[in-house]
Assembly symmetry: C2
């Protein structure tokens, strides 16, 4: 266990906690107070750490994802299980807003050939996000949703091309989990850099568009 801790960089107390919580399979017992751990334990510990520290997922969620990785299911099904575990739940929303948001996404899904319905695992997160944007009076932010959907299709092509190159189903599902959590973070970061460059291009040298008002804005409602 001390060696496993040294190899993975994770404290012994944390490893014991993961063992108790069933995130990490037990080692092969060699004596009453000794066990052998292998390379797969080190790999699994790194995966757990990435999900907890980088992905910000709860231990319960990590348990679901680990179960999805370990369940020997066809790729598409295993990917779905991992996605469901990784998708957060949304807060309560008023029924009218919920209906509006479901309609927006359903229409988009129809155009793009995506599976979608009120019980789709991604529905709560998407509906919650759309309703919050609306509640904040920023529906203008949704003007580009069709463009975002087109670009999401292109991003997904790259995502799946990457997974296709892997040699086994276990490896594909594991990479999908890592890619879902870290792939979102990676794209967020690149989007930030691209936004910065585009913002500098459009508003150079601290100059704003001359017609842009400050403070007062007669058309306060978007």
């Amino acid at each position: 266990m001390a060696e496993l801790s040294a190899e993975s960089g994770i404290p012994v107390a944390t490893i014991k906690y993961y063992l108790r919580e069933g995130l990490l399979p037990p080692g092969e017992r060699t004596s009453p107070n000794q066990a052998r751990y292998g390379e797969n334990h080190v790999q699994r510990l790194r995966l757990i750490r990435a999900m907890v520290e980088v992905g910000g997922l709860s231990v319960a969620t990590v348990r679901d994802v680990v179960a999805a990785v370990d369940a020997h299911q066809p790729t598409h099904k295993a990917l779905g299980i991992a996605q469901r575990a990784l998708t957060g739940l949304a807060a309560d929303v008023p029924p009218d807003d919920r209906e509006w948001a479901l309609e927006v996404v359903t229409e988009l899904a129809r155009k793009h050939g995506w599976q979608f319905g009120p019980n789709h695992p991604v529905a709560p997160a998407l509906v919650g996000t759309l309703c919050t944007i609306r509640a904040l009076g920023h529906v203008k932010l949704l003007d580009g949703i069709g463009d975002y959907a087109d670009l999401a299709d292109q991003v997904a092509q790259v995502d799946l091309d990457t997974l296709d190159a892997l040699p086994s189903v276990d490896r594909i599902v594991e990479a999908a989990v890592v890619g879902t959590v870290l792939g979102d973070r990676l794209f967020e970061g690149l989007r930030r850099l691209a936004q910065g460059a585009e913002s500098a291009r459009r508003y150079p040298a601290g100059l704003d568009r001359p017609e842009l008002s400050r403070g007062e804005h007669p058309e306060a409602g978007l």
Copy 2:
């Protein structure tokens, strides 16, 4: 205060907490234990709630973002302040990994005309993400990073087109904050739907590529 709570749907105790923490400006005092709150308080409360509940940001971070919205700075500068506040910090990484990750992003930034360096506000998050992907043995996931960068440029175009349509600097910065937090969630959701459709297309009816191994994989190292 009771009316403000009813209007915004946020409990009185929470509103008092936001007032104490300086997230919400005080109302106009009309008597020793009465104050008047306006539409701007309702709007601000919704913004705070979105950042805390949907964005998962800490109160300290929300305070920084609110200060950025309230600081009457040129648009590009105000956007930068909001971005910095919204960008999380990464865990410690080994110096060698850090150098490798900085090199990857610097090269990408050079090609795309993005500003980037070790002190860029997005650097810790991007470096942390890349290093974790590497530590997990999934550098294959980075094969498509150039494609992701191209697509991030296109997403940023849509982001800035949306902001350009707004009437005032305050409104632009506020929308950038909402758009940064919720825009990432929105794109994540669309990417999930697109991945699902693409995965179903490539692995139809539960069938996997015949050469795909299960469990054992001789080339375990990616």
